[in-house]
Structure formats: C-alpha cells, structure tokens
C-alpha cells in the first residue's frame, strides 16, 4: 500500500482498538484493527526490533502469550514459526508483529534480545496486569490466522 493510503492518524475515541501488551517490559499500546502492531508502535514513536516489515525475515518474531491475531496479508508459515523452537516450548505460538493485526487484546513476549525503544522520550505506560507466565496460565485460546476476507 502506498504511504499516502496508510492510516497514519491517531485512533479516534470511538474507534475500536485492542490493547496490546509487550512483555517483559509490559509496554501497552492501543492498536486499531486496520494497522499492524509494528505500524501502531511506529505511530506512537516506539520501536521494537524489525527488519523487512514484510513478514519475510522473522526479525520481529515474538511469542503469543494470550490473545488472537490475524494477518491481512499472506505470510509464510515457516517464517512465522522460525527455524529454532525453544526446547519445552514447542507449542508456543509465534507471530510476526510487522504483519499481525490484533483481533482481541493481546499479550506478546518479545524475543530475549528484543526490547521496546521509546524513540522520542514519550513516557511509556506500564501494565499493572499479570506477568506473561501468569497470563499464559489463565489466558484464552492463543493463535493467529489469516484475516477473514
């Protein structure tokens, strides 16, 4: 999509959004259902690690703790899953935040080498909610799928 067609505005108060929480920092952000998580981060002056922003490289890969995501564009499942699976966490669902759009409130665990960067010094709201482990224990069905057309 050319940039002029991209939703670059802030969410209106009456607009549906989902709350996305990024662990371990616990950073929370409101994500519209017409933007990806990385687009929402960028819109709010934040960054996480990403590279191609097109779902091809896996640099942004994160673990879904709770919640549901979908992909408005086709993604390669091998890239979503990644080559290396953490022993004992074979069933942990992965996602690509550069292409994923939330369909519910979502808790994501970033890669241990990833972090949320506050590019412009905005004060980041912190979640008072459960830790990722607690969230996983009580969370609803986790997963991601293509967006319904």
């Amino acid at each position: 999509m050319p940039i002029e067609d991209r939703p670059a505005r802030a969410a209106r108060p009456d607009e549906p959004t989902h709350l996305v929480t990024l662990w371990p920092a616990g950073v929370q952000l409101r994500v519209r259902d017409d933007e990806t998580i990385v687009d929402a981060l960028r819109r709010q002056g934040l960054r996480t690690r990403y590279k191609c922003r097109r779902g091809g490289c896996g640099a942004c890969r994160a673990t879904i703790v709770t919640g549901e995501l979908c992909y408005p564009t086709a993604v390669c499942q091998d890239v979503v899953d990644g080559a290396a699976v953490t022993p004992g966490r074979e069933d942990s669902a992965k996602c690509l935040p550069c292409r994923a759009v939330p369909r519910s409130d979502v808790h994501l665990l970033l890669d241990p080498t990833d972090d949320v960067i506050d590019m412009f010094g905005t004060v980041l709201p912190r979640s008072a909610g459960p830790t990722p482990a607690e969230g996983a224990a009580h969370g609803p069905h986790e997963g991601s799928s293509p967006c319904p057309s």
Binding site: M1, P2, I3, R6, R49, K51, C52, R53, R54, G55, G56, C57, G58, A59, T73, A74, V75, C76, D78, V79
Partner: protein
C-alpha cells in the same frame, strides 16, 4: 570463460499481486508473461525474455539461471560439475518458459543453479537501430535497466568458491577471511566477465538468498531510487552507502514478501588478470559498508 552473466533469479513471494506491483511499478520492470501463478519480468535494457521470475507461495529463492555462450560450453560444464561430485541433470527446452536446453546443478550449498545458452530474445525497450539512451515513453518508478548479481549463503564458502573456480571458471575479485591466520574463508565475491562480481556468497545457512541486485548508472540514480522507495514505503535495510568490497554504491531494501533487493552502481573492472583483494575480519564492517563502518547484526542474519 563461457559463463556470461546472471540471467535470471526465480523467487517465491507470499502474494503475487503485491510482488508484481513492486517489481513493475516500484522497480520499473515489465511483465513479459504471466501463467500458472508465475510472473516473468525483464528490465528495460535487457533483451532476453526475463530476468526475474515470481512464483506465489512462500518466500526465498527457487533457483538461479546463468547464461553461457553456447551448447558446447554446457557439455563442458556438465562434465566438470559431475567430476566435482555435484548433482547434475539435463534440463529440456520448455522446462522454463522461453528457455532452451540446459544443465541443472545442485550446488554444494544446496542452491539450484541452471545454465542455459538459449532464451527467447524479446529485445530492449530502446532497440538496436539508432537507439535513444533510455525509453522515450519514460521509466516507471526506479526504472532499473538490468539485473546485476546475487549474494547467497553457504555453510562452506571455501567449497563453493572452489566449485565456481573449477567448474564455471569464475574468479574471486575479493575475499573476506577470518581466523588466527586469516585462513578461514567467510565470503567470496566472484566474477565471470569483467564486473566486480556476478555472484557472491557469505557463510550462513545453505540454500538461502541474501539479496539480488540491479545495476544502476550512478550515485544520483541511487538517490532517486531512494526517493521512490520512500514514496512507495519500501522498507530500507541500509544505504545509500559505499561498499568497501567491490567499491560499489548501494541501497538494500525489501520486496513485499521480505526478499532483499539491492540497487548497485559503480564498482571497478575486473578481468582474467585480476589479482584478488583480501579483507580481514577487523575491517569487515568497512568492507560491507565503507561509509558507516558498522553493520547491523541482522544484515548478515536475515536471509530468505
């Protein structure tokens, strides 16, 4: 030297329509043929039927095609590749749209390499009679004139370098070495004609594509390409910057599936009497990005 150049790059894309839009409207290539979920594209200054093939489903490299001078060269390459111990088979006219008989080799790095001498000649957009310097109808987007080279990854760069030397008569323009005695080959930039490189490889996973590159006339064309990328929200990897290795100028960026592309200009002229340049690991970042002398770890990790 019987191998002339990188003829085609055949890649997988997650969404054919998005990829087609990128390669035609952003890069400025022309779709010559579309059939069976594939798009065959060429650049305006290329005469052969296609130089990029898009295939829907997944991401990454399907195969590379290098064009050789004639059928006898194919026989020689087949014999040498077999003697080397590579898996070799004959491919027939029609296996690839518009491409004639050839030899298909599975490289020691698990990449598929096709050698061919015949491909349908479509012609450049400026023709062969009193041509204009560029198409009168103008260029779309970046308006790349032609494909240039590719960089792939391999677990064993030394083995792949020996293959390209012994079987295909390539020579190393530049080499990146590591280890206590600078004896471990990390990367090699190899040519078959007089370019700085027609193929390059660095240590990494077998079978993967790091990028393929288009040739651009000069630095200012690169900056114009950068403007087009921003207008069309193409994710940039790095650049515009100068390479130490090859002395070329570059912007790396990603197609809509996350396959890495490059626009490349400049560089020097090589040839049969070229003496190989060596880069050591302490200067590797300068070799790759001479301007910034630093590279993001993901630059070498991210492949498709």
């Amino acid at each position: 030297v019987s191998v002339m150049r990188l003829g085609y790059v055949h890649i997988k894309v997650t969404d054919l329509a998005e990829a087609r839009d990128h390669y035609t409207n952003t890069m400025g290539m022309t779709a010559i043929e579309e059939s069976d979920g594939m798009v065959y594209l060429k650049s305006w200054d290329e005469g052969d039927h296609h130089s990029v093939v898009l295939q829907e489903g997944g991401v990454g490299l399907v195969k590379l095609g290098y064009k050789v001078t004639d059928e006898h060269a194919l026989d020689a390459i087949e014999n040498r590749a077999t003697a080397f111990g590579a898996r070799v088979e004959r491919m027939s006219k029609g296996d690839n749209v518009s491409v004639g008989d050839g030899v298909r080799i599975t490289l020691p790095s698990d990449h598929t390499l096709e050698l061919y001498s015949e491909i349908e000649y479509v012609g450049t957009e400026t023709g062969l009679l009193n041509p204009d310097p560029w198409p009168r109808g103008g260029l779309r987007g970046i308006g790349v004139p032609r494909l240039d080279h590719t960089l792939i990854t391999t677990e064993d760069p030394a083995l792949l370098e020996r293959f390209f030397q012994d079987v295909l008569d390539f020579r190393a323009a530049e080499r990146l070495v590591a280890g206590a005695e600078d004896s471990d080959l990390v990367g090699s930039w190899m040519f078959c004609g007089e370019q700085p490189h027609d193929i390059a490889f660095v240590k990494g996973a077998n079978g993967k594509l790091h990028h393929f590159a288009y040739h651009m006339p000069d630095w200012s064309a690169l900056l114009h390409a950068g403007d087009v990328m921003s207008m069309r929200d193409v994710p940039i990897d790095f650049g515009p910057a100068r390479h130490g290795i090859t002395r070329g100028e570059t912007i790396y960026f990603f197609d809509p599936s996350g396959n890495r592309n490059e626009v490349f200009s400049g560089g020097y002229r090589t040839g049969k009497d070229w003496r190989t340049i060596t880069w050591t690991m302490d200067q590797a970042a300068r070799g790759i990005n001479y301007t910034h002398r630093e590279i993001d770890a993901k630059f070498l990790e991210v492949v498709t």
